[in-house]
């Protein structure tokens, strides 16, 4: 299945879930409606697309933009040796999206990281707790609104920077 055919097939199957298609160094990039993320992923995981691997799941904070957070998913098909990038914008206030746990096991920790760093809620996640920072850490460190030098020590520190 070539690149053109693939996008045609995805469009035909998923229709209005896909808002835009572009190309990045030969790999397809799809922009999704955030409400359709889970359904699209479930479809892409099955034949004929067979994107069996969730390579990465991360987030970008575009502070000034309308939809402020952008989730980025990277999928990989072992059978066809192709990659696919999917993006979905989330609003600044209460960003949330459906979880991918249940489709890919590694989504659990990846989503916890995005939750920890950006405060994106993943609906249906079985254990949505901080994974990199610690209990009692306030705010989300990779948000643009997080003060860039703010430290939250767990024990009293001598002196100040």
């Amino acid at each position: 299945m070539g690149q053109e055919n693939l996008i045609e097939a995805i469009r035909a199957k998923l229709g209005d879930a896909v808002e835009g298609v572009s190309d990045s160094f030969g790999d397809a990039v799809l922009t999704l409606r955030s409400a359709a993320v889970r359904a699209v992923m479930a479809a892409l995981r099955e034949a004929p697309f067979e994107y069996a691997v969730l390579l990465d799941l991360t987030c970008v904070d575009f502070a000034a933009a309308e939809g402020r957070f952008e989730l980025v998913y990277h999928l990989y098909s072992l059978t066809r040796n192709v990659r696919l990038r999917l993006k979905a914008s989330l609003p600044a206030a209460d960003p949330s999206v459906e979880t991918l746990v249940g489709l890919w096991k590694n989504a659990e920790w990846l989503e916890r990281e995005v939750f920890d760093m950006f405060g994106v809620r993943f609906e249906g996640h079985p254990y949505l707790k901080r994974i990199l920072t610690y209990e009692g850490f306030e705010g989300h460190a990779l948000r643009k609104s997080y003060p860039w030098r703010l430290e939250q020590p767990r024990i009293p520190l001598k002196g100040d920077v």
């Binding site: 767990r154 520190l157 002196g159």
Partner: protein, 158 residues
Amino acid sequence: MSGLDFLTTRLETAIGWGRKFSLFHYPFITACCGMEYMSAACAHFDIDRFGAGLTRFSPRQADLLLVVGTISHKLAPVLKTVYDQMLEPKWVIAFGACTVSGGIYQNYAVVQGIDRIIPVDIYIPGCPPRPEMVLDGLLKLQDKIQHQKQDWRWARKT
């Protein structure tokens, strides 16, 4: 000068000499500086030439805490506990830019110098420091140990 004064000074020198050449170190290694530590510790640069070759992997058996690599706020209580577990007399070397000052990192995660958590005797800057610098730092620590007051009943360090 009475005989007793003379004896005390000589004893201090002897204890200092003994202590500086029998440093058991505990490597607290968290990051890439560990490669440089390995280089310094192994045959090529051979830290054992200076009597610091015996690595202990329990802080209770160590005199010298080598803090090697970035210390994050999440890890800070662990480092403090390890330091507290060491028996007196004890010394600390901050190995590399991250432990000295936070290095290239100034953000939510990284402690800006381990001297905010525990007392530090010798700072070895560099990212990472050359093994020669590590050996130089060790020699400076030995010099410090030789010339510091050798307490029998250790005063609490502040």
